[in-house]
Protein backbone atom coordinates (compact mmCIF):
# COMPACT_ATOMS: atom_id res chain seq x y z
CA UNK A 1 0.00 0.00 0.00
CA UNK A 2 1.58 3.36 0.89
CA UNK A 3 5.35 3.34 0.98
CA UNK A 4 5.59 4.47 4.57
CA UNK A 5 3.28 4.80 7.51
CA UNK A 6 2.33 8.41 8.04
CA UNK A 7 2.30 9.89 11.49
CA UNK A 8 -0.91 11.51 12.71
CA UNK A 9 0.74 14.89 12.65
CA UNK A 10 1.81 14.49 9.06
CA UNK A 11 -1.69 13.42 8.04
CA UNK A 12 -3.09 16.56 9.66
CA UNK A 13 -0.48 18.71 7.91
CA UNK A 14 -1.33 17.15 4.55
CA UNK A 15 -5.03 17.70 5.14
CA UNK A 16 -4.54 21.39 5.92
CA UNK A 17 -2.07 21.94 3.08
CA UNK A 18 -4.45 20.13 0.75
CA UNK A 19 -7.27 22.45 1.78
CA UNK A 20 -5.08 25.47 1.06
CA UNK A 21 -4.15 24.10 -2.38
CA UNK A 22 -7.79 23.34 -3.11
CA UNK A 23 -9.08 26.75 -2.09
CA UNK A 24 -6.40 28.63 -4.00
CA UNK A 25 -6.95 26.37 -7.01
CA UNK A 26 -10.70 26.91 -7.12
CA UNK A 27 -10.40 30.65 -6.61
CA UNK A 28 -7.79 31.01 -9.33
CA UNK A 29 -9.74 28.85 -11.78
CA UNK A 30 -11.66 31.78 -13.25
CA UNK A 31 -8.53 33.90 -13.43
CA UNK A 32 -6.67 31.17 -15.33
CA UNK A 33 -9.24 31.22 -18.13
CA UNK A 34 -7.66 32.17 -21.45
CA UNK A 35 -8.80 35.65 -22.51
CA UNK A 36 -11.50 37.74 -20.85
CA UNK A 37 -13.66 35.48 -18.65
CA UNK A 38 -16.75 37.67 -19.06
CA UNK A 39 -16.48 37.69 -22.86
CA UNK A 40 -16.10 33.90 -22.73
CA UNK A 41 -19.26 33.63 -20.65
CA UNK A 42 -21.19 35.85 -23.05
CA UNK A 43 -19.99 33.76 -25.97
CA UNK A 44 -20.30 30.23 -24.60
CA UNK A 45 -22.99 30.20 -21.94
CA UNK A 46 -26.60 31.31 -21.74
CA UNK A 47 -25.88 33.90 -19.08
CA UNK A 48 -28.15 36.97 -19.19
CA UNK A 49 -26.49 39.20 -16.57
CA UNK A 50 -24.58 42.39 -17.24
CA UNK A 51 -20.80 42.63 -17.07
CA UNK A 52 -20.58 44.42 -13.71
CA UNK A 53 -22.71 41.82 -11.90
CA UNK A 54 -20.73 38.93 -13.35
CA UNK A 55 -17.41 40.51 -12.44
CA UNK A 56 -18.62 41.16 -8.90
CA UNK A 57 -19.89 37.59 -8.44
CA UNK A 58 -16.73 36.02 -9.83
CA UNK A 59 -14.65 38.33 -7.65
CA UNK A 60 -12.93 39.75 -10.73
CA UNK A 61 -13.39 43.36 -9.61
CA UNK A 62 -10.64 42.91 -7.05
CA UNK A 63 -7.16 41.43 -7.08
CA UNK A 64 -6.61 37.73 -6.41
CA UNK A 65 -4.99 38.50 -3.06
CA UNK A 66 -8.15 40.31 -1.91
CA UNK A 67 -10.53 37.88 -3.56
CA UNK A 68 -9.32 34.73 -1.80
CA UNK A 69 -9.89 35.92 1.80
CA UNK A 70 -13.13 37.56 0.71
CA UNK A 71 -14.42 34.31 -0.80
CA UNK A 72 -13.45 32.41 2.33
CA UNK A 73 -15.19 34.89 4.61
CA UNK A 74 -18.35 34.29 2.61
CA UNK A 75 -17.90 30.51 2.63
CA UNK A 76 -17.45 30.44 6.38
CA UNK A 77 -20.59 32.54 6.79
CA UNK A 78 -22.40 29.86 4.79
CA UNK A 79 -22.73 32.04 1.71
CA UNK A 80 -21.67 29.89 -1.23
CA UNK A 81 -22.69 32.41 -3.88
CA UNK A 82 -25.36 32.16 -6.52
CA UNK A 83 -25.51 30.19 -9.73
CA UNK A 84 -24.81 32.41 -12.73
CA UNK A 85 -27.53 30.73 -14.74
CA UNK A 86 -30.40 29.73 -12.46
CA UNK A 87 -29.69 32.51 -9.90
CA UNK A 88 -30.37 30.06 -7.08
CA UNK A 89 -28.24 30.31 -3.92
CA UNK A 90 -25.71 27.46 -4.00
CA UNK A 91 -25.54 26.62 -0.29
CA UNK A 92 -28.85 24.69 0.06
CA UNK A 93 -28.32 23.15 -3.38
CA UNK A 94 -24.92 21.81 -2.36
CA UNK A 95 -26.37 20.28 0.80
CA UNK A 96 -29.17 18.55 -1.13
CA UNK A 97 -26.73 17.19 -3.66
CA UNK A 98 -24.31 16.06 -0.99
CA UNK A 99 -27.12 14.08 0.65
CA UNK A 100 -27.97 12.37 -2.65
CA UNK A 101 -24.32 11.58 -3.39
CA UNK A 102 -23.92 10.23 0.13
CA UNK A 103 -26.93 7.94 -0.38
CA UNK A 104 -25.48 6.69 -3.66
CA UNK A 105 -22.04 6.25 -2.13
CA UNK A 106 -23.37 4.39 0.90
CA UNK A 107 -25.41 2.05 -1.31
CA UNK A 108 -22.45 1.40 -3.60
CA UNK A 109 -20.16 0.84 -0.63
CA UNK A 110 -22.49 -1.69 0.97
CA UNK A 111 -23.12 -3.57 -2.30
CA UNK A 112 -19.40 -3.76 -2.98
CA UNK A 113 -18.56 -4.78 0.58
CA UNK A 114 -21.22 -7.48 0.83
CA UNK A 115 -20.39 -8.95 -2.57
CA UNK A 116 -16.63 -8.82 -2.29
CA UNK A 117 -16.56 -10.07 1.31
CA UNK A 118 -18.80 -13.05 0.69
CA UNK A 119 -16.97 -13.96 -2.51
CA UNK A 120 -13.56 -13.56 -0.91
CA UNK A 121 -14.55 -15.64 2.10
CA UNK A 122 -15.72 -18.50 -0.07
CA UNK A 123 -12.77 -18.19 -2.47
CA UNK A 124 -9.94 -17.95 0.05
CA UNK A 125 -9.90 -21.55 1.34
CA UNK A 126 -10.48 -23.11 -2.08
CA UNK A 127 -7.93 -22.03 -4.70
CA UNK A 128 -8.93 -22.95 -8.25
CA UNK A 129 -12.60 -23.53 -7.44
CA UNK A 130 -15.51 -21.58 -8.91
CA UNK A 131 -15.57 -18.76 -6.34
CA UNK A 132 -11.83 -18.30 -6.75
CA UNK A 133 -12.19 -17.99 -10.51
CA UNK A 134 -15.09 -15.56 -10.16
CA UNK A 135 -12.95 -13.35 -7.93
CA UNK A 136 -10.08 -13.41 -10.45
CA UNK A 137 -12.41 -12.66 -13.33
CA UNK A 138 -14.16 -9.85 -11.48
CA UNK A 139 -10.80 -8.37 -10.50
CA UNK A 140 -9.62 -8.40 -14.11
CA UNK A 141 -12.90 -6.99 -15.42
CA UNK A 142 -13.13 -4.17 -12.91
CA UNK A 143 -9.64 -3.09 -13.95
CA UNK A 144 -10.48 -3.17 -17.63
CA UNK A 145 -14.12 -2.18 -18.05
CA UNK A 146 -14.59 1.58 -18.30
CA UNK A 147 -17.37 2.79 -16.02
CA UNK A 148 -19.58 4.00 -18.91
CA UNK A 149 -19.44 0.50 -20.41
CA UNK A 150 -20.28 -1.20 -17.11
CA UNK A 151 -23.19 1.15 -16.51
CA UNK A 152 -24.58 0.90 -20.04
CA UNK A 153 -24.36 -2.89 -20.06
CA UNK A 154 -26.24 -2.96 -16.75
CA UNK A 155 -28.90 -0.63 -18.12
CA UNK A 156 -29.21 -2.81 -21.17
CA UNK A 157 -29.57 -6.01 -19.15
CA UNK A 158 -31.48 -4.96 -16.05
CA UNK A 159 -33.57 -2.11 -17.35
CA UNK A 160 -34.21 -2.63 -21.06
CA UNK A 161 -34.05 -6.40 -21.59
CA UNK A 162 -35.44 -7.41 -18.21
CA UNK A 163 -37.15 -4.29 -16.88
CA UNK A 164 -36.38 -4.56 -13.17
CA UNK A 165 -34.94 -1.12 -12.40
CA UNK A 166 -35.81 2.32 -13.63
CA UNK A 167 -32.91 4.13 -15.30
CA UNK A 168 -33.60 7.64 -14.10
CA UNK A 169 -33.73 8.85 -10.49
CA UNK A 170 -33.33 5.35 -9.08
CA UNK A 171 -30.14 4.86 -7.05
CA UNK A 172 -29.92 1.06 -7.43
CA UNK A 173 -28.40 0.77 -10.90
CA UNK A 174 -25.85 3.59 -10.47
CA UNK A 175 -24.82 2.17 -7.10
CA UNK A 176 -24.50 -1.26 -8.64
CA UNK A 177 -22.30 0.06 -11.48
CA UNK A 178 -20.04 1.83 -9.02
CA UNK A 179 -19.75 -1.21 -6.81
CA UNK A 180 -18.91 -3.42 -9.77
CA UNK A 181 -16.07 -1.08 -10.68
CA UNK A 182 -14.49 -0.95 -7.21
CA UNK A 183 -15.56 -4.31 -5.77
CA UNK A 184 -13.34 -6.38 -8.07
CA UNK A 185 -10.17 -4.95 -6.53
CA UNK A 186 -11.52 -5.41 -3.03
CA UNK A 187 -12.55 -9.01 -3.62
CA UNK A 188 -9.10 -9.86 -4.94
CA UNK A 189 -7.33 -8.06 -2.13
CA UNK A 190 -9.57 -9.58 0.57
CA UNK A 191 -9.13 -13.07 -0.84
CA UNK A 192 -5.35 -12.79 -0.93
CA UNK A 193 -5.19 -11.23 2.53
CA UNK A 194 -7.43 -13.91 4.07
CA UNK A 195 -5.53 -16.67 2.31
CA UNK A 196 -2.24 -15.43 3.75
CA UNK A 197 -3.57 -15.82 7.28
CA UNK A 198 -5.21 -19.23 6.80
CA UNK A 199 -1.96 -21.02 7.65
CA UNK A 200 -0.76 -18.55 10.24
CA UNK A 201 0.20 -20.34 13.50
CA UNK A 202 -2.78 -18.79 15.32
CA UNK A 203 -5.19 -20.25 12.76
CA UNK A 204 -3.48 -23.65 12.82
CA UNK A 205 -3.60 -23.83 16.61
CA UNK A 206 -7.24 -22.77 16.64
CA UNK A 207 -8.03 -25.60 14.24
CA UNK A 208 -6.14 -28.01 16.51
CA UNK A 209 -8.25 -26.85 19.44
CA UNK A 210 -11.30 -27.92 17.46
CA UNK A 211 -12.52 -24.47 16.37
CA UNK A 212 -14.82 -24.87 13.39
CA UNK A 213 -13.50 -23.89 9.97
CA UNK A 214 -15.90 -20.94 9.29
CA UNK A 215 -14.94 -19.44 12.65
CA UNK A 216 -11.23 -19.87 11.85
CA UNK A 217 -11.91 -18.04 8.60
CA UNK A 218 -13.69 -15.16 10.32
CA UNK A 219 -11.85 -14.75 13.58
CA UNK A 220 -8.32 -15.87 12.77
CA UNK A 221 -8.02 -14.87 9.13
CA UNK A 222 -10.32 -11.92 8.43
CA UNK A 223 -10.41 -10.15 11.79
CA UNK A 224 -6.62 -9.63 12.17
CA UNK A 225 -6.58 -7.92 8.76
CA UNK A 226 -9.63 -5.75 9.31
CA UNK A 227 -7.68 -2.69 10.49
CA UNK A 228 -5.50 -2.60 7.41
CA UNK A 229 -8.49 -3.29 5.20
CA UNK A 230 -10.53 -0.47 6.74
CA UNK A 231 -7.63 1.85 6.13
CA UNK A 232 -7.47 0.67 2.54
CA UNK A 233 -11.17 1.51 2.16
CA UNK A 234 -10.37 5.08 3.16
CA UNK A 235 -7.85 5.36 0.36
CA UNK A 236 -10.45 4.02 -2.08
CA UNK A 237 -12.73 6.93 -1.29
CA UNK A 238 -11.32 9.15 -4.00
CA UNK A 239 -11.75 6.37 -6.51
CA UNK A 240 -15.41 6.01 -5.60
CA UNK A 241 -15.84 9.76 -5.89
CA UNK A 242 -14.19 9.84 -9.31
CA UNK A 243 -16.57 7.13 -10.46
CA UNK A 244 -19.53 9.12 -9.20
CA UNK A 245 -18.84 11.87 -11.77
CA UNK A 246 -19.49 9.42 -14.60
CA UNK A 247 -22.26 7.42 -12.99
CA UNK A 248 -24.28 10.37 -11.69
CA UNK A 249 -24.12 12.07 -15.07
CA UNK A 250 -25.04 8.92 -16.95
CA UNK A 251 -28.00 8.04 -14.74
CA UNK A 252 -29.09 11.65 -14.22
CA UNK A 253 -28.68 11.27 -10.46
CA UNK A 254 -28.62 14.82 -9.05
CA UNK A 255 -25.57 14.52 -6.78
CA UNK A 256 -22.37 16.52 -6.35
CA UNK A 257 -20.59 14.65 -9.15
CA UNK A 258 -23.27 15.56 -11.65
CA UNK A 259 -23.13 19.15 -10.41
CA UNK A 260 -19.40 19.33 -11.15
CA UNK A 261 -19.81 17.96 -14.67
CA UNK A 262 -22.92 19.96 -15.59
CA UNK A 263 -21.66 23.24 -14.21
CA UNK A 264 -18.44 22.81 -16.20
CA UNK A 265 -20.42 22.09 -19.34
CA UNK A 266 -22.60 25.17 -18.77
CA UNK A 267 -19.61 27.30 -17.70
CA UNK A 268 -21.42 28.19 -14.47
CA UNK A 269 -18.21 29.06 -12.64
CA UNK A 270 -19.50 29.83 -9.13
CA UNK A 271 -21.25 26.43 -9.12
CA UNK A 272 -18.12 24.69 -10.44
CA UNK A 273 -15.93 26.33 -7.82
CA UNK A 274 -18.20 25.38 -4.94
CA UNK A 275 -18.82 21.83 -6.18
CA UNK A 276 -15.12 21.17 -6.84
CA UNK A 277 -14.28 22.55 -3.41
CA UNK A 278 -16.81 20.26 -1.75
CA UNK A 279 -15.88 17.09 -3.63
CA UNK A 280 -12.18 17.85 -3.24
CA UNK A 281 -12.55 18.36 0.50
CA UNK A 282 -14.52 15.13 0.83
CA UNK A 283 -11.90 13.16 -1.03
CA UNK A 284 -9.10 14.78 0.98
CA UNK A 285 -10.92 13.93 4.19
CA UNK A 286 -11.51 10.30 3.16
CA UNK A 287 -7.94 9.74 2.07
CA UNK A 288 -6.47 11.39 5.15
CA UNK A 289 -8.72 9.41 7.50
CA UNK A 290 -7.67 6.28 5.61
CA UNK A 291 -3.96 6.93 5.96
CA UNK A 292 -4.46 7.93 9.58
CA UNK A 293 -6.24 4.63 10.26
CA UNK A 294 -3.42 2.88 8.41
CA UNK A 295 -0.80 4.53 10.59
CA UNK A 296 -2.76 3.47 13.70
CA UNK A 297 -2.88 -0.19 12.64
CA UNK A 298 0.80 -0.04 11.73
CA UNK A 299 1.62 1.22 15.17
CA UNK A 300 -0.43 -1.51 16.82
CA UNK A 301 0.46 -4.64 14.89
CA UNK A 302 3.74 -3.61 13.33
CA UNK A 303 3.60 -6.39 10.76
CA UNK A 304 0.56 -5.48 8.72
CA UNK A 305 2.70 -4.40 5.78
CA UNK A 306 3.73 -7.71 4.21
Amino acid sequence: MTPSALSSLRVLRIFLLGLVVLSIGTTLMVRALPGDPVELLFAESSVTLDRATIEAELGLNQSALDAIPETWKNYLRGDWGKSLLSREPLGPLLLQRLARSALLGALALSFALILSLSLALSAAPAPGRTADRVVSLWGALSASMPLPVVALVLVLLLSLQIPIFRVSRDPILPAFSLSFAVGGFWARLLRDRIRQRLHHPSAVSARARGVSEPWVLLKYSLAPQSGALLAYLGTQFGFLLGGSFVVETLFDWPGLGQMVVESIRARDYPATQAAVLWTGTLSLLGTCLGSWAQSRTHAKSGDSRS
Binding site: G25, A140, A143, P146, P148, V149, V155
Partner: protein
Protein backbone atom coordinates in the same frame (compact mmCIF):
# COMPACT_ATOMS: atom_id res chain seq x y z
CA UNK B 1 16.88 -11.62 -16.88
CA UNK B 2 13.35 -11.34 -18.17
CA UNK B 3 11.82 -14.64 -17.17
CA UNK B 4 8.28 -13.36 -17.00
CA UNK B 5 6.08 -14.83 -19.71
CA UNK B 6 3.93 -12.27 -21.46
CA UNK B 7 0.57 -13.66 -22.55
CA UNK B 8 0.74 -14.01 -26.32
CA UNK B 9 -2.88 -13.18 -27.06
CA UNK B 10 -2.53 -9.73 -25.57
CA UNK B 11 0.51 -8.85 -27.70
CA UNK B 12 -1.17 -10.22 -30.82
CA UNK B 13 -4.32 -8.23 -30.11
CA UNK B 14 -2.47 -4.98 -29.40
CA UNK B 15 -0.28 -5.23 -32.50
CA UNK B 16 -3.20 -6.12 -34.77
CA UNK B 17 -5.52 -3.46 -33.36
CA UNK B 18 -2.93 -0.67 -33.49
CA UNK B 19 -1.93 -1.65 -37.05
CA UNK B 20 -5.48 -1.76 -38.36
CA UNK B 21 -6.60 1.38 -36.60
CA UNK B 22 -3.51 3.16 -37.94
CA UNK B 23 -4.31 2.02 -41.47
CA UNK B 24 -7.91 3.14 -41.08
CA UNK B 25 -6.75 6.49 -39.70
CA UNK B 26 -4.16 7.35 -42.33
CA UNK B 27 -5.68 5.87 -45.50
CA UNK B 28 -8.28 8.17 -47.02
CA UNK B 29 -10.60 6.95 -48.48
CA UNK B 30 -10.53 4.29 -45.83
CA UNK B 31 -10.62 0.66 -46.94
CA UNK B 32 -12.62 -0.09 -43.81
CA UNK B 33 -15.65 1.48 -45.44
CA UNK B 34 -16.02 -1.60 -47.61
CA UNK B 35 -14.98 -3.79 -44.69
CA UNK B 36 -17.72 -2.30 -42.57
CA UNK B 37 -20.26 -3.10 -45.25
CA UNK B 38 -18.92 -6.60 -45.71
CA UNK B 39 -19.00 -7.34 -42.00
CA UNK B 40 -22.49 -5.85 -41.72
CA UNK B 41 -21.48 -3.85 -38.68
CA UNK B 42 -23.83 -1.06 -39.63
CA UNK B 43 -23.63 2.71 -39.44
CA UNK B 44 -23.75 5.30 -36.69
CA UNK B 45 -26.55 7.84 -36.26
CA UNK B 46 -24.89 10.17 -38.79
CA UNK B 47 -24.67 7.44 -41.41
CA UNK B 48 -20.94 6.83 -41.08
CA UNK B 49 -19.72 3.21 -41.22
CA UNK B 50 -19.30 2.06 -37.63
CA UNK B 51 -16.31 -0.27 -38.10
CA UNK B 52 -14.22 2.45 -39.69
CA UNK B 53 -15.36 4.97 -37.08
CA UNK B 54 -14.34 2.72 -34.21
CA UNK B 55 -10.93 2.10 -35.77
CA UNK B 56 -10.13 5.76 -36.45
CA UNK B 57 -11.60 6.90 -33.13
CA UNK B 58 -9.66 4.33 -31.16
CA UNK B 59 -6.45 5.32 -32.97
CA UNK B 60 -6.91 8.89 -31.72
CA UNK B 61 -7.52 7.64 -28.18
CA UNK B 62 -4.48 5.36 -28.34
CA UNK B 63 -2.23 8.15 -29.57
CA UNK B 64 -3.49 10.53 -26.86
CA UNK B 65 -3.01 7.93 -24.15
CA UNK B 66 0.45 7.03 -25.47
CA UNK B 67 1.50 10.69 -25.50
CA UNK B 68 0.28 11.15 -21.95
CA UNK B 69 1.98 7.96 -20.75
CA UNK B 70 5.30 8.91 -22.33
CA UNK B 71 5.07 12.45 -20.98
CA UNK B 72 4.23 11.23 -17.48
CA UNK B 73 6.90 8.53 -17.76
CA UNK B 74 9.69 10.99 -18.57
CA UNK B 75 8.48 13.71 -16.19
CA UNK B 76 8.43 11.13 -13.41
CA UNK B 77 12.12 10.31 -13.98
CA UNK B 78 13.02 13.98 -14.01
CA UNK B 79 11.28 14.59 -10.67
CA UNK B 80 12.68 11.38 -9.18
CA UNK B 81 16.20 12.44 -10.16
CA UNK B 82 15.71 15.84 -8.56
CA UNK B 83 14.38 14.21 -5.40
CA UNK B 84 17.32 11.82 -5.28
CA UNK B 85 19.71 14.73 -5.76
CA UNK B 86 18.07 16.55 -2.86
CA UNK B 87 18.29 13.46 -0.66
CA UNK B 88 21.97 12.98 -1.45
CA UNK B 89 22.84 16.64 -1.27
CA UNK B 90 24.81 17.79 1.73
CA UNK B 91 23.67 21.39 1.26
CA UNK B 92 19.91 21.16 0.83
CA UNK B 93 18.03 20.35 4.01
CA UNK B 94 15.69 17.40 4.41
CA UNK B 95 12.86 19.92 4.38
CA UNK B 96 12.87 20.02 0.58
CA UNK B 97 12.41 16.29 0.27
CA UNK B 98 9.62 16.44 2.82
CA UNK B 99 7.96 19.20 0.85
CA UNK B 100 8.09 17.00 -2.28
CA UNK B 101 6.65 14.04 -0.35
CA UNK B 102 3.84 16.18 1.08
CA UNK B 103 2.98 17.53 -2.36
CA UNK B 104 2.75 13.97 -3.64
CA UNK B 105 0.46 12.95 -0.78
CA UNK B 106 -1.79 15.91 -1.53
CA UNK B 107 -1.85 15.11 -5.24
CA UNK B 108 -2.70 11.49 -4.43
CA UNK B 109 -5.66 12.47 -2.28
CA UNK B 110 -7.66 13.97 -5.15
CA UNK B 111 -9.22 11.67 -7.74
CA UNK B 112 -7.39 12.18 -11.03
CA UNK B 113 -10.72 12.65 -12.79
CA UNK B 114 -11.45 15.70 -10.62
CA UNK B 115 -8.12 17.25 -11.60
CA UNK B 116 -8.83 16.47 -15.24
CA UNK B 117 -12.29 18.05 -14.97
CA UNK B 118 -10.81 21.23 -13.52
CA UNK B 119 -8.43 21.42 -16.48
CA UNK B 120 -11.38 20.96 -18.82
CA UNK B 121 -13.27 23.71 -16.98
CA UNK B 122 -10.43 26.15 -17.50
CA UNK B 123 -9.15 25.33 -20.97
CA UNK B 124 -12.28 23.81 -22.50
CA UNK B 125 -12.49 20.45 -24.24
CA UNK B 126 -9.74 19.73 -26.75
CA UNK B 127 -6.74 17.55 -27.52
CA UNK B 128 -4.19 19.64 -25.63
CA UNK B 129 -6.40 19.78 -22.55
CA UNK B 130 -6.89 16.04 -22.79
CA UNK B 131 -3.17 15.27 -22.98
CA UNK B 132 -2.42 17.68 -20.14
CA UNK B 133 -5.19 16.21 -17.98
CA UNK B 134 -4.15 12.62 -18.68
CA UNK B 135 -0.49 13.38 -17.97
CA UNK B 136 -1.17 15.16 -14.70
CA UNK B 137 -3.64 12.44 -13.77
CA UNK B 138 -1.22 9.55 -14.21
CA UNK B 139 1.86 11.22 -12.73
CA UNK B 140 1.15 10.84 -8.96
CA UNK B 141 0.68 7.06 -8.88
CA UNK B 142 3.85 6.58 -10.94
CA UNK B 143 5.80 8.91 -8.67
CA UNK B 144 4.64 7.04 -5.59
CA UNK B 145 5.91 3.78 -7.05
CA UNK B 146 9.24 5.19 -8.22
CA UNK B 147 9.94 7.00 -4.96
CA UNK B 148 9.20 4.07 -2.71
CA UNK B 149 11.37 1.82 -4.89
CA UNK B 150 14.16 4.37 -5.06
CA UNK B 151 14.07 4.77 -1.28
CA UNK B 152 14.39 1.01 -0.86
CA UNK B 153 17.38 0.86 -3.20
CA UNK B 154 19.00 3.91 -1.60
CA UNK B 155 19.36 2.17 1.74
CA UNK B 156 20.80 -1.07 0.34
CA UNK B 157 24.29 -1.97 1.56
CA UNK B 158 25.85 -1.95 -1.90
CA UNK B 159 24.66 1.61 -2.40
CA UNK B 160 26.03 2.59 1.02
CA UNK B 161 29.31 0.99 0.00
CA UNK B 162 29.41 2.87 -3.30
CA UNK B 163 28.64 6.10 -1.46
CA UNK B 164 31.41 5.42 1.03
CA UNK B 165 33.92 4.88 -1.77
CA UNK B 166 33.12 8.32 -3.11
CA UNK B 167 30.61 7.77 -5.89
CA UNK B 168 28.89 10.99 -6.99
CA UNK B 169 25.12 11.33 -6.54
CA UNK B 170 24.67 11.20 -10.32
CA UNK B 171 26.83 8.06 -10.50
CA UNK B 172 24.83 6.45 -7.70
CA UNK B 173 21.59 7.23 -9.49
CA UNK B 174 22.67 5.98 -12.91
CA UNK B 175 24.53 2.87 -11.70
CA UNK B 176 22.32 1.72 -8.85
CA UNK B 177 18.95 3.43 -8.50
CA UNK B 178 18.04 3.40 -12.18
CA UNK B 179 18.68 -0.34 -12.73
CA UNK B 180 17.04 -1.11 -9.39
CA UNK B 181 13.85 0.74 -10.20
CA UNK B 182 13.69 0.08 -13.92
CA UNK B 183 11.98 -3.31 -13.82
CA UNK B 184 9.08 -2.11 -11.68
CA UNK B 185 8.83 0.98 -13.84
CA UNK B 186 8.67 -0.99 -17.07
CA UNK B 187 6.05 -3.27 -15.54
CA UNK B 188 3.94 -0.29 -14.50
CA UNK B 189 3.94 1.47 -17.89
CA UNK B 190 1.32 -0.71 -19.66
CA UNK B 191 -0.98 -0.23 -16.68
CA UNK B 192 -0.44 3.50 -16.82
CA UNK B 193 -1.31 3.41 -20.50
CA UNK B 194 -4.50 1.51 -19.66
CA UNK B 195 -5.40 4.09 -17.02
CA UNK B 196 -4.87 6.89 -19.51
CA UNK B 197 -7.19 5.11 -21.97
CA UNK B 198 -9.79 4.69 -19.22
CA UNK B 199 -9.52 8.36 -18.27
CA UNK B 200 -9.82 9.42 -21.90
CA UNK B 201 -12.94 7.32 -22.29
CA UNK B 202 -14.50 8.81 -19.15
CA UNK B 203 -13.64 12.42 -19.99
CA UNK B 204 -14.73 12.25 -23.60
CA UNK B 205 -17.83 10.35 -22.58
CA UNK B 206 -18.74 13.30 -20.36
CA UNK B 207 -18.16 15.61 -23.33
CA UNK B 208 -15.15 17.26 -21.70
CA UNK B 209 -12.32 15.45 -23.51
CA UNK B 210 -12.10 15.07 -27.25
CA UNK B 211 -13.31 18.11 -29.25
CA UNK B 212 -16.79 17.90 -30.71
CA UNK B 213 -15.87 17.33 -34.37
CA UNK B 214 -13.60 14.33 -33.94
CA UNK B 215 -14.51 10.94 -32.57
CA UNK B 216 -12.62 9.04 -29.90
CA UNK B 217 -13.39 5.94 -27.88
CA UNK B 218 -15.15 8.06 -25.24
CA UNK B 219 -17.36 10.05 -27.63
CA UNK B 220 -18.30 6.83 -29.43
CA UNK B 221 -19.34 5.34 -26.08
CA UNK B 222 -21.56 8.40 -25.59
CA UNK B 223 -23.13 7.59 -28.98
CA UNK B 224 -23.62 4.05 -27.73
CA UNK B 225 -25.59 5.54 -24.85
CA UNK B 226 -27.76 7.66 -27.14
CA UNK B 227 -28.71 4.71 -29.32
CA UNK B 228 -28.88 2.14 -26.53
CA UNK B 229 -32.56 1.42 -27.10
CA UNK B 230 -32.63 1.44 -30.91
CA UNK B 231 -29.21 -0.10 -31.58
CA UNK B 232 -27.49 -1.71 -28.61
CA UNK B 233 -24.99 -3.16 -31.10
CA UNK B 234 -23.23 0.21 -31.21
CA UNK B 235 -22.24 -0.16 -27.57
CA UNK B 236 -20.98 -3.68 -28.25
CA UNK B 237 -18.95 -2.74 -31.34
CA UNK B 238 -17.39 0.27 -29.58
CA UNK B 239 -17.03 -1.17 -26.09
CA UNK B 240 -15.78 -4.69 -26.71
CA UNK B 241 -12.50 -3.75 -28.47
CA UNK B 242 -11.85 -1.20 -25.73
CA UNK B 243 -12.36 -3.79 -22.98
CA UNK B 244 -10.12 -6.31 -24.78
CA UNK B 245 -7.42 -3.68 -25.31
CA UNK B 246 -7.53 -2.74 -21.63
CA UNK B 247 -7.43 -6.39 -20.57
CA UNK B 248 -4.42 -6.92 -22.84
CA UNK B 249 -2.59 -3.92 -21.39
CA UNK B 250 -3.36 -4.95 -17.82
CA UNK B 251 -2.13 -8.47 -18.50
CA UNK B 252 1.23 -7.00 -19.58
CA UNK B 253 1.50 -5.41 -16.14
CA UNK B 254 0.62 -8.58 -14.27
CA UNK B 255 3.37 -9.90 -12.01
CA UNK B 256 3.96 -13.57 -12.70
Amino acid sequence: MNSRSVPKWSLVWLVLWITFSGIAFFLVPSPTFELSRALQLGFDSFGRPLASLVLTGSFRSLVMALFATLAAGSLAWLITTIRFGLQESTVASARFTRLLDDSLSIALSFPSLLVALVFAAVFGAGWSTLILALTVGSLPSLLRLLWSQADDVRTEFYVEAARATGASPMGLFVNHVLPGVWEVYALKLPQLFAHALLAEAALSFLGLGAPAQSESWGTLLAQGQNTLIEAPSVLLIVGLPLVITLLALQSLSEKK
